[in-house]
Symmetry: C2
Subunit: 420 residues, 2 copies
């Protein structure tokens, strides 16, 4: 496809999405919920067609020697399609954020000002190989009254095309305006760059995927972006920690699911408890297949610990690898986290009130835990009932993003002839 | 100054600002207020030194044939310095947004989650010739616990340098960390571009100035931006309008201060009241020196109306010029606003309940008025007691931005050993 084609495609989809967004902003909750349930039913009804489309992607992926982990993420089956449908039904049961009066007041001149929650408008989602993001993102955007333009990875293009067709048709059948859910057909990477300059039509872009994708989007987008993802998360075992809690939490934070952004990457241990805590802890990691990289002091506590380099402290392994550092004080732990953390999730294990309070006050991160695993940074675990991603920026949204994070506000002002 | 120099300057200021921001986040309100009052006193005490510095800028501006309006904005005198100082004292009396618990809840597993208001971190402000922005922005950022890196226009560099020195020293004397208030010394335009890529140090950039500056920032910044400014605002006189109110509001919205973003640029009039409303209204504008550009129907109502071009409907005149259009219906007015509005401020004058509600629900803008002037879109008029700008984007902040809009959130989680 040449440049003119994908620019024309994006402009057409942008115009259509903008028109849909304008109408979607005033669609009642009942209509949106009906559409979400229609979409769920349609996915289950059309599952064989979706699986057939997906088989094409999987076959092409294998032919192109995609890694097995990617093939696994790409692959759809009955159970996964059922999960996607259930996800939509769950979204239909969540409260609708739109229309809420967040605040209201009257001015001395009699003007009545109300601050109302409204949709963002048109949301662009740029993601990678997992076709379930197509359904999930479309459902969340729709419930919050937004039109969405989806741009999935080229590996999943046939699956995503089939899925989008099914859910967009089902939404339309429930009186959702045409153009509310659209997929970019062009797989050319240049289409992503063009999308990042689509300020005329897009109100925000949310990238979902690996560090490379997110970096590309952040660096090149003139459309406002919500940055998601990278988590170099720490657990600091304070000198007063309950070491049983420390063992369980530190093990869970690393091992329960190392491939996600809220997993711990570096364990910091106060020198006062290092000798008591580290030998059994490191042995437990070793038994679980965790590769250990440590500071000189940490190396002394287990034979499997290799020397950590400067790069290790800054790396999001997303794997069964852990960096371990013995620190002299809470201050040193705070310094280390400030220098190497990515402002995602940080935890302290302590019995000391002042240490707990200082850690919570001074650590600059989306989620700061006392005596709990960093793995809880998640929209579902926080009780939001949904998650479009975890923001690691400070603008607009920080931490797990649920439906309210997919909204904006407007001021509605009632007067009776006021002039200034 | 060569490239290496300004890159080194920006990196150094970035590092210093980041360190300051980390400490500022936990500085008590009393210290910040003391600093703001110190800064105000210092401005008044050093006013002759500031005026002398400003005289250099003014003389250079005149030599370079800057337009008179720009020279006026640039010029400082005793009264203007007193206003700047009073502005800081006002900020010291505003409530401190930092530390507020916005929400708190407990999860079934016992985790206690609190959502706390925290500073954004380091804010970059890029602005033009008005040196009062230096004081205003520094004061607001400080009160909200943020470090600020200021980049004013080259026309005001000597004034801004003197002012920054005075207020930064006064802040430091009140125990505000060094580096909390800094000015970019380089006047090279390339320094702006470098600042727009300073993701490592800046959490947000807020441009304040004309359309050209804002466009440059939005298009080139990889740091998150809050877009401010452009207002192509409309007033729609509905067929049921109280025409006395319509006259006063429409006159005020255009004439009270045409050079600001919340001034009306286009007047839309329902055909049912055009013959009754427009002749006297247009004559009143004409008497006030307003140049009129209208649709074919509008031209018939006053001899001074020239033919409006397509471009007129999309132009923010910021001047004594008004576009006038007669429309057939509320729907036509909504279509026109959707096509040409900049989502800033829009007003309807009506006595019809349904028209009022439809207008407020369907117009997509930061502020939507019934029977009042668009000129009220302003932090002070809204009762915020401050204003760092008016956001025309939907992410993070929309409409007038006060102190809470200069903050982010973090989640503080208390546990007793929870794992996932």
């Amino acid at each position: 496809m040449d440049q003119k084609d994908y620019l024309a495609e994006l402009a057409h989809k942008g115009i259509t999405a903008k028109a849909a967004a304008r109408r979607l902003a005033t669609v009642p909750t009942s209509v949106k919920n009906k559409a979400l349930n229609n979409m769920a039913d349609a996915l289950e009804r059309e599952n064989s067609c979706i699986i057939a489309a997906n088989a094409e992607d999987v076959a092409r992926g294998k032919k192109n020697s995609l890694p097995n982990s990617l093939i696994d993420r790409l692959m759809l089956n009955d159970a996964r399609i059922k999960d996607m449908a259930e996800g939509l039904r769950q979204i239909s049961r969540l409260p609708d954020p739109i229309g809420e009066t967040i605040a209201g007041w009257q001015r001395p001149n009699g003007l009545k000002i109300n601050k109302i929650r409204v949709p963002l408008g048109v949301i662009g989602i740029i993601y990678e190989a997992r076709p379930n993001v197509t359904v999930d993102a479309a459902g969340l955007c729709l419930k919050a009254g937004n039109a969405v333009i989806l741009r999935g990875g080229s590996e999943a293009i046939v699956s995503n095309t089939a899925i989008t067709q099914v859910i967009a048709d089902a939404a339309k059948a429930a009186d959702i305006p045409e153009g509310a859910i659209q997929l970019v057909a062009t797989t050319d990477r240049q289409a992503v760059n063009a999308m990042l300059r689509l300020n005329q039509y897009l109100d925000v872009i949310i990238p979902r995927g690996g560090a490379g994708l997110i970096k590309t989007v952040v660096e090149n987008s003139s459309v406002p972006v919500i940055e998601t993802g990278t988590g170099v998360c720490h657990t600091f075992i304070d000198g007063t920690a309950d070491l049983d809690i420390a063992q369980e939490v530190a093990f869970n934070a690393k091992v329960s699911r190392p491939g996600v952004c809220n997993a711990m990457e570096t364990l910091l241990v106060h020198k006062d408890v290092a000798a008591q805590f580290l030998p059994s802890m490191l042995e437990r990691y070793h038994q679980a297949g965790v590769e250990l990289r440590g500071c000189p002091a940490a190396i002394g506590y287990h034979p499997s610990v290799k020397t950590a380099t400067e790069e290790d402290w800054a790396t999001e392994y997303l794997d069964f690898i852990l960096a371990v550092k013995v620190v002299n004080s809470l201050d040193d732990a705070l310094e280390h986290i400030s220098a190497y953390g990515t402002r995602h999730s940080e935890a302290i294990i302590t019995r000391d009130y002042n240490s707990a309070k200082r850690f919570q006050n001074e650590v600059d991160a989306a989620a700061v835990y006392v005596n709990a695993s960093t793995r809880f940074t998640d929209g579902f675990e926080f009780g939001f009932g949904a998650e479009i991603g975890i923001s690691t920026q400070k603008l607009h949204a920080r931490g797990p993003m649920g439906l309210p994070e997919l909204t904006s506000i407007k001021y509605i002002i009632d007067g009776n002839g006021q002039i200034r």
